[in-house]
C-alpha cells in the first residue's frame, strides 16, 4: 500500500513538551521525566528517588513518603493503598487530617498531588501531563480508579501503560535489544508476566498474565507468620490487629536487610515477650516458597498458552523491587533453560519507561508500543455464565460487536451485565457495570436485532454500547465508579481547567466542583422520565430552570457558583426524591404480583450462533 509517512507532529526540540512518568507502586513510587533530551528522576526533599507510598493524616496535617518513614508515626500511616484498587476503592475506609471519611481513591489523589508538587519543585515549572503505569493484570475498574485519582489531582493522564511493558520499553531502548523477552515483574502487591517482541522501535506484547494480589506484602505476612510460629509458638492469626501490623512491618524491614546480609541476629517482640533470634535467608526462602512457586506456575502457563518455545526467548528480564529476592532467579533457572537479565534497576525502570513514552506521545516518535488486554471481557448469560466478547491477550485498541435477539414475544427491554475475567461462571468474575436497553419495539421473540459493541481503547479502558438496529435507540456505558461520570467527560474537565485555572489549588477546586455538578446532571438526566411522571408542573419547571442554570455555570470556572447551584438543584429535587422512593416500592409490589415471586430471568440468543444458545438474563420491563 502506498502510505505516506506521517509528519512529526512537533516542530523543534527546543519547545519540547514535558510529560511525567509515574510508577505508582504498592510499596514505593517513582517519578521521572525527560526534559530537553535529558532524562531525570524526580527527587523528594530527602534527595530520594524511591518514594514510599505512605500517607499519614495527623493533627490537621498530611505527610507523605519519606516525610514519614523514620518517624514513630510510621505505624499509623496508610500503606499499600494501591491494593484496594482491585477491591472497593470507593469505600470510605480512611480518615483524613480533619477526621472526614475518605476512600482509597481520595487517599491516592492526595498522594498524586504530593508527587505533582515534588516534580514542580524539582523542575521549577508547572507539570500537567503524565503517563501512569498500572499492573498489566489490573482489571478495568482498577485502571479507571487510578485514572480518576490522577484526574482529581489535576493531572492530565496521557496514557495508562502496563508496568512490564513500560519496563521492556525502557530496557529495549537503553540496551538496544531485539528479540523475544519475558518480563517477570514482582512488585510490592502485584505480580505480572509479559512476553514481548522487540524489534526496531517496535515493542509488541504477545501475551500477558499475572496475579493482581501477589507481591512483597504477601511475603512479609508469610514470613511474620513463620517467625511467630517458630520462635514464639503462637498462631499469628490469634494476635490483635495492632500487633499483627507491627510484626508485618518488622518482617518487611528484616526482608530488606536480607537482600544484603545472609544472616544476622535480631530482637523480636511479640505480645511483650522479647527474644533474640537468628534471621537467615534459608528460613525466609522456606517461608515464602509457595508463593514463589505460584509465580513460576503462572510463567509456565503463559509460555505454554502462547506456543512459544523457550529456546526462542532471549531471556527473562527481572523487574519490581521484590524480584531482588535471590531465590527467584534460582527458581527461574531451575524451571527454564534461559538467560536472566538483571542489568536494570528493578525499582526504577518502570517509571523510566513511562517517562520516555510520555515524551514520545507529546513530541512524536517512530517507536510504537502495542499492548494487549490481560483479561477477557463479556456479558452475563443465562444460568450465570459469562459470554466472552473480547478474549484475553487481544491487541488493543479493539472493537468487537456481537448481535443478540430477544427470547420472549413482546420483550421491550434487555439488561446487560458487563463482566471481566476468565472463569466460566459470572459470579467468579468481576462485575464492571450493568445497563438496561429499553424501548425495544415489541416483536416476536428472535426478531429484534440488538448489537452490542465493546470498545477497548489504547489505555485499556472499556466502553460498551448496545443498539437496537431497528429503532436506532442506543445506550452507552463506560466503566464507572459511584460518581457516575464518564472518564472522557472527566478528561475534558481536567483539560479545560488546566487552561483556565489561576493556580493549582484553584484548578483542583474547579475540577472537583465540575465533576460533582456533571455527575449530578447525569443523574437527573437518567431519571428525567420519572420527574415528568411524578412531579407537578410547577416543580418540573423549577427543576428545569435549576438544571439550565447549573449547566450554564459549568461553562465558567467559578467553583463557588457551581457549588451553590448544585445545592439549589439538590433542594429543588428533594420532594421528587421522596416520591421516587415511594414509587419504587409500589413498582416492586406490582411486579411481584403480576409475575409471582420467582425472579423473571428471561433469555436471549446470540444471533450468529442460533444453534448454540448463549442465553443471557433479561429483565422484562413494566409497561407504564
Amino acid at each position: 500500500m502506498n502510505l505516506i509517512k506521517i509528519k512529526e507532529p512537533m516542530s523543534s526540540k527546543n519547545d519540547a513538551k514535558i510529560c511525567l512518568g509515574i510508577d505508582f507502586g504498592t510499596t514505593n513510587s517513582v517519578c521521572s521525566i525527560k526534559v530537553k533530551d535529558k532524562f531525570q528522576f524526580i527527587l523528594d526533599d530527602n534527595g530520594k528517588t524511591l518514594i514510599p507510598t505512605l500517607i499519614l493524616y495527623n493533627e490537621k496535617t498530611k505527610k507523605f513518603g519519606n516525610q514519614i518513614i523514620k518517624n514513630e508515626s510510621y505505624f499509623n500511616s496508610i500503606f499499600s493503598v494501591k491494593r484496594n484498587f482491585t477491591k472497593d476503592f470507593d469505600k470510605k475506609i480512611y480518615e483524613d487530617q480533619n477526621g472526614t471519611k475518605i476512600s482509597s481513591m481520595e487517599v491516592s489523589k492526595d498522594f498524586f498531588i504530593y508527587l505533582k508538587n515534588l516534580c514542580e519543585k524539582n523542575l521549577n515549572q508547572n507539570v500537567f501531563d503524565c503517563v501512569i503505569t498500572v499492573p498489566a493484570y489490573f482489571d478495568e475498574k482498577a485502571r479507571s480508579g487510578i485514572m480518576r485519582a490522577a484526574f482529581m489531582a489535576g493531572l492530565r493522564v496521557r496514557r495508562l501503560i502496563n508496568e512490564p511493558t513500560a519496563a521492556a520499553f525502557a530496557y529495549g531502548l537503553e540496551k538496544k535489544k531485539k528479540g523475544i523477552f519475558f518480563v517477570y515483574d514482582l512488585g510490592g502487591g502485584t505480580f505480572d508476566v509479559s512476553l514481548l517482541k522487540l524489534s526496531d522501535g517496535i515493542f509488541k506484547v504477545i501475551a500477558t498474565s499475572g496475579d493482581p494480589n501477589l507481591g512483597g506484602d504477601d511475603f512479609d505476612i508469610l514470613y511474620a507468620k513463620w517467625l511467630v510460629k517458630k520462635y514464639f509458638k503462637i498462631d499469628f492469626d490469634s494476635l490483635n490487629k495492632k500487633e499483627k501490623l507491627k510484626l508485618v512491618k518488622k518482617s518487611k524491614l528484616l526482608k530488606e536487610k536480607l537482600f544484603e546480609t545472609q544472616t544476622f541476629n535480631e530482637k523480636l517482640k511479640v505480645n511483650e515477650c522479647v527474644k533474640e533470634i537468628e534471621i537467615n535467608i534459608k528460613d525466609f526462602n522456606k517461608a515464602i516458597n509457595n508463593l514463589i512457586d505460584s509465580t513460576i506456575k503462572i510463567s509456565l502457563e503463559l509460555l505454554n498458552e502462547v506456543d512459544v518455545e523457550i529456546n526462542k526467548i532471549e531471556g527473562f528480564v527481572l523487574v519490581g523491587g521484590s524480584s531482588r529476592i535471590k531465590c527467584i532467579s534460582e527458581k527461574i533457572k531451575e524451571n527454564f533453560e534461559t538467560t536472566i537479565f538483571d542489568d536494570v534497576n528493578p525499582d526504577l525502570v518502570v517509571s523510566k519507561g513511562a517517562a520516555l513514552h510520555g515524551y514520545e506521545l507529546l513530541n512524536g516518535s517512530d517507536n510504537v508500543l502495542l499492548d494487549v488486554t490481560p483479561l477477557s471481557l463479556g456479558i452475563e448469560t443465562m444460568g450465570g455464565l459469562m459470554e466472552k466478547i473480547i478474549s484475553r491477550n487481544t491487541p488493543i485498541p479493539a472493537i468487537k460487536e456481537q448481535t443478540f435477539t430477544t427470547h420472549e414475544n413482546g420483550q421491550t427491554a434487555i439488561k446487560f451485565l458487563i463482566l471481566q475475567g476468565e472463569r466460566e461462571t459470572s459470579s467468579n468474575n468481576r462485575k464492571l457495570g450493568e445497563f438496561i436497553l429499553s424501548n425495544i419495539q415489541p416483536k416476536p421473540a428472535g426478531i429484534p436485532r440488538i448489537t452490542v459493541m465493546f470498545s477497548l481503547d489504547a489505555d485499556g479502558i472499556l466502553f460498551v454500547t448496545a443498539k437496537d438496529e431497528e429503532t436506532g435507540i442506543q445506550n452507552k456505558l463506560s466503566v464507572k465508579t459511584n460518581d457516575d461520570l464518564d472518564l472522557n467527560d472527566m478528561r475534558k474537565i481536567v483539560e479545560s481547567s488546566i487552561e483556565n485555572a489561576k493556580d493549582d489549588i484553584h484548578q483542583r477546586m474547579v475540577i472537583e466542583a465540575k465533576v460533582k455538578a456533571k455527575s449530578f446532571l447525569n443523574e437527573i438526566e437518567s431519571v428525567k422520565k420519572d420527574i415528568e411522571l411524578l412531579c407537578s408542573k410547577n416543580d418540573i419547571k423549577v427543576i428545569n430552570e435549576k438544571v439550565a442554570m447549573l449547566k450554564e455555570s459549568i461553562k465558567t470556572d467559578d467553583c463557588d457558583i457551581i457549588n451553590q447551584r448544585v445545592d439549589d438543584l439538590n433542594k429543588s429535587t428533594e420532594s421528587f426524591a421522596q416520591k421516587r422512593i415511594e414509587k419504587d416500592f409500589s413498582v416492586r409490589v406490582q411486579y411481584q404480583m403480576s409475575f409471582g415471586l420467582s425472579s423473571r430471568l428471561l433469555s436471549y440468543y446470540s444471533f450468529e450462533r442460533k444453534q448454540m444458545p448463549s442465553e443471557i438474563h433479561v429483565q422484562k420491563q413494566q409497561q407504564q
Partner: protein, 194 residues
C-alpha cells in the same frame, strides 16, 4: 466497492485502500475493505507470516492512537477505529483457519452454508481415532507421540487446503477448513491435558 472517498479535511480524492490523505496527510475514517487489502498484501492462503507481521507493524506505526494523542478528538477517534481494524485483520490473517474463511468469502463461497463436514463419516472417524489414542495413552511419552501425529495431520490438511485454493476448488477447501478447525480444537484440548 472500489469507489474513492473524499478527505473530510481538504476534500481531496482518497483511493479505497488509503487511510491518509495524500494532499493534507490527515487520517481518514475507516471504510469497508477486506483484510488482505487493508494489510496491503496479496490475496493468498500461503501467506508468509513474517511478511504479514511486517505489514501489520508498519500500519500500526502509522495509525496507532499514540501517534494522534495531540490531535483533535475526531482524529483520535479515527485512529482508534483504524488501529482496532488493523489489529483484528492481523489476528484473522495470522490464523490459517480464519484466513481460509476470509478467502472463501472473498471468492463468493459462504462458508456457513455448506457445513457438510459434520456428516462426513471419514473425517469424523479420523478425529475420533486421534482422540481415543490420546485418551488411552498411558505415559506422557505416548501422549506426546499422539500429539506429534496430530500435528502431522494438521500440516497435511494445511497442504491440501493450500492446493485446493490454488485449484479454486472452494467446496473442497471449505471441507478441509472445517476439518482443520476441529483438529486445531483437539490440539488445544490436548495441550491443556498434558
Amino acid at each position: 466497492m472500489s469507489v474513492n472517498s473524499i478527505c473530510w479535511n481538504c476534500g481531496n480524492d482518497i483511493p479505497p485502500n488509503l487511510f491518509l490523505c495524500q494532499k493534507c496527510n490527515k487520517i481518514q475514517p475507516p471504510k469497508q475493505v477486506d483484510e488482505f487489502k487493508l494489510m496491503g498484501i496479496s490475496e493468498t492462503f500461503d501467506l508468509d507470516l513474517d511478511e504479514l507481521e511486517k505489514a501489520y507493524l508498519k500500519l500500526q506505526q502509522l495509525f496507532h492512537p499514540d501517534k494522534y494523542s495531540q490531535l483533535s478528538d475526531q482524529e483520535i477517534k479515527y485512529s482508534t477505529l483504524l488501529s482496532s481494524m488493523i489489529n483484528e485483520a492481523y489476528q484473522k490473517l495470522n490464523s490459517s483457519i480464519s484466513r481460509a474463511t476470509i478467502l472463501l468469502k472473498l471468492n463468493g463461497f459462504n462458508p456457513h452454508s455448506e457445513d457438510k463436514s459434520f456428516n462426513d463419516p471419514g473425517v469424523l472417524e479420523e478425529i475420533m481415532d486421534i482422540q481415543n489414542e490420546f485418551l488411552e495413552a498411558e505415559s506422557s511419552e505416548q501422549k506426546k507421540l499422539s500429539i506429534q501425529k496430530l500435528n502431522l495431520k494438521i500440516s497435511e490438511t494445511m497442504e491440501n487446503l493450500s492446493i485446493s485454493f490454488k485449484n479454486k476448488e472452494y467446496a473442497i477447501a471449505n471441507k478441509l477448513n472445517v476439518k482443520l478447525s476441529y483438529l486445531e480444537k483437539i490440539r488445544i484440548d490436548f495441550k491443556k491435558q498434558l
